[in-house]
Symmetry: C2
């Protein structure tokens, strides 16, 4: 019974909302902080944008994959994927080859150079995650992951 004690406590006034206590806001803010922090790393080191990093990470994870699959796996809109692919292709980090039997489909793979960058990106990601564990603490990370997992569970 009567659950919103927490929220009321924050402003002391039921007719106001404390933005800093509102979960969607806090979540968005937290994600923004982490995302920006990590983005700085791969931007400075590889000159990648956020969509490009996600695309590269997905291709590297699967070796050979199509654009739509990239979008599905990395939660990105078709157009973002398309543009990221073009950018990576221009850098010669990936190649595409049209499928033999279904010519709508393009299979994307990493070039040798792309693979080099991917490997470096993986260690970068691992070390950032490790640093995160260090600064937030094992329990903090665990709680965060559990909370996120709850969201993932409900929204496919």
């Amino acid at each position: 019974m009567n659950l919103p004690e927490r929220q009321i406590a924050e402003t002391g006034d039921a007719n106001r909302l404390a933005l800093e206590g509102f979960l969607p806001y806090r979540l968005a803010r937290a994600a923004e902080i982490i995302s920006r922090q990590f983005a700085t790393l791969y931007r400075e080191r590889h000159g990648l944008t956020r969509p490009e990093w996600r695309t590269l990470a997905t291709i590297g994870q699967f070796d050979r994959i199509t654009a739509t699959e990239i979008g599905a796996h990395s939660s990105m809109h078709k157009t973002k994927v398309s543009r990221a692919i073009r950018a990576l292709e221009e850098r010669k980090w990936i190649t595409r080859q049209v499928d033999d039997i279904d010519r709508r489909i393009e299979h994307i793979e990493l070039t040798r150079e792309g693979r080099t960058h991917y490997r470096d990106l993986v260690t970068l990601a691992r070390s950032y995650e490790a640093k995160l564990v260090q600064t937030l603490g094992e329990t903090g990370i665990g709680q965060l992951e559990a909370g996120i997992a709850a969201i993932e569970r409900k929204h496919t």
Copy 2:
């Protein structure tokens, strides 16, 4: 000792990264899902954009406030705030008055109409948060909040 067991387990290959298991990605995705879901509500109901909603929420929380303060409180860039304020002013939901002694400063308040919308927005937010508690579960929410709190603690 040896902590990254979790990550290795996800791909079964230490040279690859499982995007879907990478915390920054998962966090960004979760935030995106929640943010969009809630945004749909206030967009459909009040025709507000995300910066406008944050701005309105902040003004309503403090009655009388300046643009810089709004930015600081809602983690938004000056220009976003400036444009949101203009939009809200055009709708006649807020008024500004230049400070008497320091004429660089503008004090912003809600109009009666603005206050009406704000109140509705607050109940909308509360009910969305309640729904969130319901779908994610008390423990899920608790864990998520604890995780976010860890981030907030470290990054001011």
